[in-house]
Symmetry: C2
Subunit: 156 residues, 2 copies
DNA sequence: CATAATTTAATTGTGCACAATATAAATTTT
DNA sequence: AAAATTTATATTGTGCACAATTAAATTATG
């Protein structure tokens, strides 16, 4: 009699079975789909995310922006300097705490929001998803990210 | 009488409502979760993906690798040179067509697969998802990526 | 108060991503 | 066969990501 068949329960090393690759590929496709829309505004995708945060609430510090986007100063500092060069925002140390750098939108930065107003609708068209499927997938991804987040520092 | 309430159907510019950001953040969290596992193998995450493909089928060209991973030579050429430096693979022009560069695993490259064998199980533990939820999410992401893929060139 | 510890940004260095261009080989057209 | 086109890879340049280090300001502690 043959030995019992080995169950293929050992997770595989096949690319097409990986959740990580589906995620990685979809994320890059998504960014690529935004690219032509953002080119019209002279923004990269990460720059667009920063602008989204600042359009919601202006005057955040680099740290607060980083918490929101899960990016550190090594990424944000040069990105913010480029947006400053582009005339969309200003950076200045707070007088209350000179360690903190406050980011403030310029008039041009505020105005750019109008140019971005059509982007979500335009992207929604390309997605071809029901609002329900959209919301469900988005929230599943949020849950996944939370699950993968490093354990919270017990001091907090 | 008041004017009818405007439905918030105009897609929003709020960060937390964006599918794109959930995707972008989850993808980076996923890569960050792989990082300590891959450090033990001296691989970055994109390098790991290349190795996954080559463990499946050796002797692919740069173009074939790029099609599989959706990456171009600007990304792959330096990455492959680093893997070559690390002694995991070799690169040589094909005699049948000198334009093509064939990538072949070295013995060390083949052997590394054993060191990677535990990674999927280890990641599965951290995910805390049922096999069903895993498969469904993965396939939804594949569908999304396909939906966002540029239209195929009609010549093909 | 003095100094040690902590916090916040910036800097440096490595490795992707990706557009644009270059180069060379192969293929097709003329 | 020569010219034009296509294909495969490499190169260059820009902009993220992120680890590690540095520097400055603030807070905590003896």
């Amino acid at each position: 009699m043959l030995a019992p068949m080995k169950k293929p329960l050992d997770a595989s090393l096949h690319l097409d079975e990986q959740l990580c690759f589906a995620l990685y590929a979809a994320s890059r496709r998504m960014t690529a789909t935004y690219r032509p829309l953002l080119e019209a505004l002279d923004l990269t995708y990460p720059q667009y995310l920063v602008m989204l945060v600042l359009w919601e609430r202006d005057g955040l510090t680099v740290r607060e922006l980083g918490e929101r986007l899960q990016l550190d100063s090594g990424t944000l500092t040069p990105l913010l300097k480029r947006l400053e060069q582009a005339g969309l925002l200003g950076r200045r140390r707070r007088q209350s705490d000179e360690r903190e750098v406050e980011i403030t939108l310029t008039d041009a930065g505020h105005t750019l929001r109008e140019g971005a107003a059509d982007i979500p609708r335009c992207m929604a068209e390309k997605l071809c998803m029901s609002i329900d499927a959209f919301t469900r997938l988005r929230d599943e991804l949020k849950t996944l990210a939370t699950q993968l987040a490093p354990p919270t520092d017990p001091r907090e």
